[in-house]
């Protein structure tokens, strides 16, 4: 499985890319494989500031539903609107076209809790 080097990961199977105080967040290749066909991504928290570890949305697969957790504290400034009509992008391209939200970081980045690609790969037994 692919876990790009430039990303950080969480134990909840999200990835985060931090650039200039903005974090882009999605779910990992492992997560999308576990979930199966994703049919609905619900994010109704745009404009809200949410603490690290709190729920920012939900991802619905055919077989299951899963909460999405903030990997860090921030204000959600954008939701990937493409996912409204094409939720399958999360399966097809979890790190690129399947990104979920952009966040303006408002708190300390919890560096100690974010995992390196190597540590995340180990976590998921890869």
């Amino acid at each position: 499985m692919n876990f790009p080097k430039e990303l950080k990961y969480t134990k909840d199977h999200e990835w985060v890319k931090i650039e200039d105080g903005i974090a882009v967040i999605g779910i990992t290749e492992f997560a999308q494989r576990e979930l199966g066909d994703i049919v609905y991504v619900e994010v109704e928290t745009v404009g809200e500031t949410i603490a690290s570890g709190e729920v920012f949305g939900t991802v619905e697969a055919v077989k299951t539903v899963s909460d999405l957790f903030m990997p860090l504290e921030g204000e959600i400034i954008e939701f990937n609107e493409e996912l409204e009509s094409s939720p399958e992008l999360v399966n097809e391209s979890p790190y690129e076209e399947g990104w979920m939200i952009k966040v303006k970081i408002t708190g300390e980045v919890p560096e100690g809790e974010l995992l390196s690609p190597e540590d995340y790969a180990e976590l998921v037994g890869n």
């Binding site: 494989r33 619905e60 077989k63």
Partner: protein, 364 residues
């Protein structure tokens, strides 16, 4: 008690095919090979094969075989002719269901009961406990493999493997014959998909040979292996009950809509009480529904009326791959259990409008 996960005969073959294996009912089972939606559509439109060898099989034989079956099951097995099968359930003594099953009449004093994998031990204990009349019982679950070849192209895909004219096997009938060079294979016009096709019971030692022959024969018809994920969405589109979700030790077969397999023309365990329940009216009923907006119902979500009052609970829910909408089943107070009734499903604090529909939810 052991927690060890059992493996079905072709476990390694499924792994080699890319099947994602998950623990299910005590067995390591393929939940999907590629995509739930693709696999679902393969069965609806073409042909696919499920390995459901985790299912349990009990043989009931001897002069008392029918008497025991009549006592422990709700349907009337005396109506069966040799070569016919029947959907039924084991009612318990407190109003619920021990399991649902299929009864096959193999010979004059020989029956096979096919039960859910998760309940093999419970069912086996249950029927033995009630066998005070001396029927001969044998649990052959660990020696049989079961493949469900399902879909509108099922017959043509594997007809070349047998001398039996598969088109003559009627729904809920079966025959024993040659299949892929193996003798005495049970070929049954059953399934859990509503897509047509049949199920074949083979000995474990023949399983690999038969599976490979089926895929070789079906190659030109686009045959594919199908996981349990698609099995669940297919059955839910048809409104078939899943034990553990829609029916369990607490649910009444009448409330579950299984009145058609609950025959008061004979006595069986708890028949008196069930008869009284039928006469006095049912408090709640299992219904199917379709969500009218974007959103997916899941088990245990509340069902509410148009005023937002709770009237029941979802027992199974999914996105229907055939229709692209959220569908489900659940129990509602009987006054609401009428097709066309507007209800709503509470999905994450929002009440999504839904409509109660006649089963099957998916109409071809």
């Amino acid at each position: 008690m052991t927690d060890s996960i059992k493996k079905i005969q072709l476990n390694d073959l499924h792994e080699a095919l890319g099947g994602k294996m998950v623990p299910f009912a005590g067995y390591n089972m393929p939940v999907r090979y590629s995509s739930d939606i693709e696999e679902h559509k393969t069965v609806r439109e073409g042909v696919g094969v499920f390995d459901v060898s985790h299912m349990g099989e009990f043989m009931v034989k001897g002069p008392k075989a029918l008497d025991l079956i009549q006592k422990v099951t709700s349907n009337d097995a005396s109506k069966l002719i040799i070569g016919q099968a029947q959907y039924s359930c084991f009612p318990n003594e407190k109003g619920g269901i021990v399991d649902d099953l299929i009864v096959y009449k193999i010979g004059e004093e020989e029956y096979m009961l096919v039960v859910n994998a998760s309940n093999i031990e419970k069912d086996w204990n249950w029927i033995n406990q009630h066998n005070d009349i001396g029927a001969e019982l044998e649990n052959i679950s660990d020696s049989l493999s079961l493949f469900a070849i399902q879909g509108p192209k099922a017959i043509e895909a594997v007809q070349s493997l047998t001398s039996i004219d598969l088109s003559t096997i009627k729904f809920y009938h079966f025959t024993k014959g040659d299949f892929a060079g193996v003798n005495d294979v049970i070929i049954s016009g059953t399934g859990y998909t509503g897509a047509g096709g049949f199920e074949i019971y083979v000995k474990n030692e023949d399983a690999e040979r038969v599976w490979k022959a089926v895929f070789e024969a079906g190659k030109d018809f686009g045959i594919k292996p199908i996981g349990l994920g698609a099995r669940d969405t297919l059955r839910l589109e048809m409104g078939y009950c899943l034990y553990g979700n829609d029916i369990n030790d607490e649910t009444s077969p009448l409330e579950a809509g299984l009145g058609w397999i609950t025959k008061f023309t004979k006595d069986f365990i708890n028949s008196e009480n069930l008869k009284k329940q039928k006469e006095s009216g049912l408090e709640k009923k299992l219904v199917g529904f379709i969500i009218q907006e974007k959103g997916i119902p899941r088990a245990h979500y509340p069902i509410v009326n148009t005023s937002g009052e709770i009237i029941g609970e979802v027992t199974s829910g999914t996105m229907s791959p055939s229709m692209g909408v959220g569908i489900g089943m659940g129990y509602v107070n009987s006054e609401y259990a009428i097709p066309g009734t507007d209800i709503a499903i509470t999905v994450r604090n929002k009440n999504l409008p839904a409509k109660i529909e006649k089963l099957p939810l998916y109409k071809k």
